[in-house]
Subunit: 290 residues, 2 copies
C-alpha cells in the first residue's frame, strides 16, 4: 500500500460519493491532505466541519494545482465543464479519475476538454450509493466489499490504472476492469432501466384520480419496488442524457417484452405466464443466492 | 370479543396465509377448534405437527360440516371448484370468507357455485404476505398492524360482515371495506402491475447474451426492485387470469407512460425527464413518510 500514498487529493464535488471516498481513504491512512472543491460553498464548509476534507478551495483551477490525484465526483452533466476548467492547471503527473454512472459520456467529455484523451485519465464507477445525497450522508464504509468498475481508455497509462485501482482497494472495494461500452450496457440493464420503471410506475399511479387511496393500500413489496424512485431527479436526468444510447436499447427491449406479457394476459394465456414467471423466479433466486 | 368466539374454524388451504390466520386466532384465544383441509396431505400432517391446526380432514365436504366459520385460502384458480364442493355441505349459518388477491373473480366463482350469492359470504383480502409460501412459513404476527380489505357483496349479511371483521381484528389487523371493483383496481395498480414489471425486467435481463455478467453487477437497488419476482409463479398466473380486466387497464396505462418516457429519453428532453422524476420522487417520498 506504501506506493499508493496520496500526498494531495483533490475531490471535485464533496457529496455522498466524493465525501465517502475521502472518509475511507483517510481512515485507511493512505492520504496526507484532502482538498475539496465544488460549486456550493456552504457544502464545502460543512465538509470541513465534519472532518471529511482538510480544506476547501472555491476556485476549481487553484484547487487541482499540486494535487497528485484528482477525483471528479460531479453530476455527469457538469463533467465536461469541470474537465475544461481544470485541464490547463493539472500537474503533469496528476492522476485523473471520476465516479460517473455512465462512462462513454465521460470519455467524450474528456476528449472535448483536453483535445485528446489524457494518458492519466482512468474513468471509474463505484457500484455503491444510497438514496441519500450530500456530504452529511457520507460514511467511510460505503465502498466496503462493494464493486468498483474502472474503464481504462485505449491510452490509459498502466501506472495510473494501478494507482486508481489501489485507491479503491484501500477503501475495501473490489475493483474490476471493463471496457467503456460494456460498462454502459451493463449499467443500463441493471440500474438505469430499473430506475426508469420505478419512476414511471410511481408517476403513473400518482396521476390516477384516486392516487391517495391507491398509495394507502400499497404494501411492503411496493415500497421496496419503488425505493429507487426516491433518487435525485437531476442526477437521473444527467444519467439518461449521458447513457442515452444504451438506455434507449434497454427501454425498447423491455417495452417489447412487456408488450408480449400484456398480450398473454389479454388472451388469458396461462402457459405463457407460468413459463415466464417461473423462468424469472429461477433467474432471480439464482442471482440472489450467490 | 366474546361474540367473536369461533367454535369450529375450517381452513381450506393451510399455507402461509391460512396457517398464519390459524396461529393468530389461536394466540388471540378466540377459537375453540381448528380443522384444516386441502389437497396436500403431507402439508396437513405438517400443520398438525406444528400445532397450527388441531386436526385435518382429507375430504373437503366433511371438513366444512359443523364449521361456523370457513376460510378458503386456496389459489384463485381453485376457488370455484372448492365452492362447488362445499356448497351442499355448509351449515346454514356458517360464515364463508376467502383471502384471494382479486375479488371480482371470487364473487363470480361463488355465484357459479352457489347459484346465487350466499348472504353469509364476505370476501376478504389481507394485504400481507412474504415471498415464502407453505405452512412452515406461517407465523401468528403476519397480520399484526396490516390492512385487511373486506369486500362485502350487495347481499352480504351485516352480522356476517361484523364477524369477519372481528376475526381479522383479533389478529391485530386494521380492517377496511371496499367495493369489489375498486379493490381490484387498487390492487392491480399497487401489486399486480409491479409484479408484472419485476418479472419482465428479470426475464428481459436473463435472456440477454451476457446475463450472468449483468446480474453480477446488479447492486442493492436491483435486489430490492426485483424481490417480488421471486414470488410463486402459479399464484401469479392465477392472479393475472382472475384480475384480468383491471390488470390489462394498468398494463396499458403504464406502457403508454413508459413510451412517453422513452420518447423523451430518445429526444434528450431534459425538461420532461427532470419534471417527471421530480413529480415521482415527491409522490414516493410523501407516500413513504406517512
Amino acid at each position: 500500500m506504501a506506493e499508493l500514498l496520496i500526498k494531495r487529493l483533490c475531490i471535485v464535488g464533496v457529496g455522498l460519493i466524493g465525501g465517502s471516498l475521502a472518509r475511507a481513504l483517510r481512515e485507511a491512512g493512505v492520504v496526507t491532505e484532502i482538498i475539496g472543491t465544488g460549486r456550493n460553498i456552504e457544502n464545502l464548509k460543512k465538509a470541513v466541519a465534519l472532518g471529511v476534507i482538510d480544506s476547501y478551495e472555491e476556485d476549481l483551477a487553484r484547487a487541482v494545482k499540486g494535487a497528485d490525484v484528482v477525483v471528479v465526483a460531479v453530476p455527469l452533466g457538469a463533467m465536461e465543464a469541470v474537465f475544461k476548467t481544470i485541464a490547463p492547471h493539472l500537474d503533469e503527473h496528476a492522476i485523473l479519475t471520476d465516479v460517473g454512472s455512465a462512462k462513454g459520456s465521460v470519455v467524450k467529455a474528456a476528449e472535448n476538454a483536453f483535445g485528446s484523451l489524457p494518458v492519466n485519465l482512468v474513468p471509474g464507477h463505484p457500484i455503491a450509493g444510497t438514496e441519500q445525497s450530500g456530504v452529511e450522508a457520507s460514511f467511510a464504509e460505503l465502498y466496503n466489499e462493494r464493486r468498483i468498475i474502472i474503464t481504462p481508455t485505449s491510452v490509459s497509462d498502466a501506472q495510473a490504472i494501478a494507482r486508481v485501482r489501489a485507491m479503491w482497494e484501500a477503501c475495501g472495494a473490489e475493483v474490476v476492469e471493463m471496457n467503456v461500452e460494456h460498462h454502459d450496457e451493463v449499467l443500463a440493464a441493471t440500474s438505469h432501466l430499473p430506475h426508469m420503471l420505478a419512476y414511471t410506475l410511481v408517476d403513473t399511479l400518482a396521476r390516477m384520480d384516486d392516487s391517495q387511496e391507491i398509495f394507502d393500500y400499497a404494501a411492503g413489496g411496493f415500497r421496496d419496488f419503488t425505493r429507487i424512485a426516491s433518487s435525485d431527479p437531476q442526477m437521473w436526468n444527467d444519467i439518461c442524457l449521458a447513457n442515452h444510447d444504451a438506455l434507449v436499447v434497454m427501454l425498447e427491449r423491455f417495452s417489447a417484452d412487456l408488450k408480449d406479457l400484456s398480450n398473454a394476459v389479454q388472451r388469458n394465456d396461462g402457459d405463457y405466464l407460468k413459463e415466464m414467471f417461473t423462468r424469472a423466479k429461477q433467474a432471480r433466486d439464482a442471482f440472489c443466492n450467490k
